[in-house]
Amino acid sequence: MTAFLKIQEPGIHSTIQDLGRFGYQDLGVPVSGALDATSFRLANALAGNDEKMAAIEILLQGPTIEVCAETVSIALAGTSTPIEVLGETPRLVPPWQSLMLRRGEVFRIGPVRESVGCYLAIEGGFDLEPILGSLSTYVRAGLGGFNGGRLAQGDELPLRQDSVPERTEVRLAKWPDLAPRERLRVVLGPQLGDFKEDSVETFLNAAYRVSPQADRMGFRLDGPPLSHAGDFNIVSDGIATGAIQVPGSGQPIVLLADRQTTGGYPKIATIISADLPAAGRLKPGDPVRFIAVEVKQAEAIRRKDEEEIMAMIAGIVPARESGNLDLGSLYGSNLVSGVVSSDE
């Protein structure tokens, strides 16, 4: 019997992602992958998977899914939204822990809280063919994932395993602080010379907000515009994830997972790799401020950040029986305002 997850409701923007499609940027293929790689990895760790295994990235509002396998073990990470198991005796299961479900059980992920997105990992992963070495979905080109696009009603996502061994559920003892960082750390440049000198000062002092123009490719910032020293076009060059480019309008654009591989606008700074998951969690309206660090510091911060992630994974403990959660308080909070741009 084939094992799969059936998508009863897809949510707003649910896609299959892994840690990215590397090795083809010289041919113009974007990296894609999880916006919040830390939560993605923790979801996999809780589901007993290798950290690279593809999972479902859920943006803004989660899907409703039916288990069409003997048993599955799932884990949700990157949000405080619980998993809602439907049926005669509905129950809420907190995120950041594993959960075994049986054939016919249906579960739902509500509005994603504390982040724009979260990750649903499943033990054993999906039985899908990688495209160019990755299962990450790049919707703009219809690459990867399940049929190259967002999950849709009726999709049947094939699983590698039809059942999982019975065992004690596990949870994380400590997980990342999901609140927006007071300041995202950046390395200035590489086109610092293309900006007026006071623009760098403006950039580092400004209190920006994520504008509603936000999707997996990146987000525009609302706030004080920056001035170019001359022309705002540069000879196209390569782009790193986290690069902050400034087009003619002067409004900075933070580039994320689905960014293009090259671009022709000057870049005032690049968010350091340790802070990319925090940037990937931001949703329209969230505050954004920056602080400059040197490359050497950025590398040291990333190494320390990795130690903390490994410590979180090492700190996976048996889950206590979860008490009754108060449905009213969980669903009293509003959906985040603003919607991910749909022009993909």
Partner: protein, 212 residues
């Protein structure tokens, strides 16, 4: 740039994820858990000084293009702005052997040059929200193929019936930085025939080796 890109790839330095060559710079993506900027500046710097590499062998592709009006929505405009007749625009565009400088913007999208001075025109003032896959376009001193349907602001002067990007291919893009490209004019009827053959997997784009 391209030879440095190849040398970096061949060296397989620990922690180097990949490199991306562009017109006049090369971006090296690296994993800071494995290596450091300082170590790579040294290692790649040594490669820049190593000039003993063999000259690259160039591939020349012959890409069929139909310049007929139904495939060239900006031909009238380009004709007016350049002062050339549509036939002359087509002839002029097909007379140059182009060099693929870099791939970017879209998967497989080749930035090629240089176009003849009479065809050097700015991008459209109002970019299109939808340019079809296969569109042949010019802007500034460059020409390109829209490998996939996408928004775009370049001037569309023709279309090719062949696919130039397919994730199932190895490598997925027909063209690579450093390749040469010649456009072969075809009729609308040939366009249909080649498209059918191409979609059935029965069309092989002509490619020859050329002296570097």
């Amino acid at each position: 740039m391209l030879s440095l890109h190849e040398r970096i790839r061949a060296a397989a330095l620990p922690g180097v994820v990949e490199s991306v060559p562009t017109f006049r710079s090369l971006l090296v993506h690296y994993d800071p858990l494995v290596t450091s900027s300082a170590a790579l500046v040294k290692a790649v710097g040594d490669m820049i000084e190593d000039t003993g590499s063999a000259p690259r062998r160039a591939r020349i592709w012959r890409i069929p293009v139909c310049y007929a009006p139904e495939f060239a929505p900006d031909m009238a405009d380009v004709s007016e702005r350049s002062g050339l007749s549509p036939e002359q625009v087509a002839e002029c565009h097909a007379a140059t052997r182009y060099h693929v400088y870099m791939i970017g913007f879209l998967p497989g999208f080749p930035y090629m040059g240089d176009v003849a001075p009479e065809l050097v025109l700015p991008r459209r003032k109002d970019p299109r929200t939808r340019v079809p896959a296969g569109a042949i376009a010019i802007a500034t001193n460059l020409t390109a193929i829209y490998t996939l349907e996408s928004p775009g602001g370049w001037n569309l002067i023709g279309a090719t019936p062949i696919r130039s990007f397919d994730a199932r291919w190895t490598p997925p893009a027909l063209l690579a930085p450093g390749d040469g490209v010649l456009f072969s004019p075809i009729t609308a009827q040939e366009f249909g025939e080649i498209r059918a053959a191409s979609e059935a997997g029965n069309y092989k784009v002509v490619c020859e080796d050329a002296a570097p």
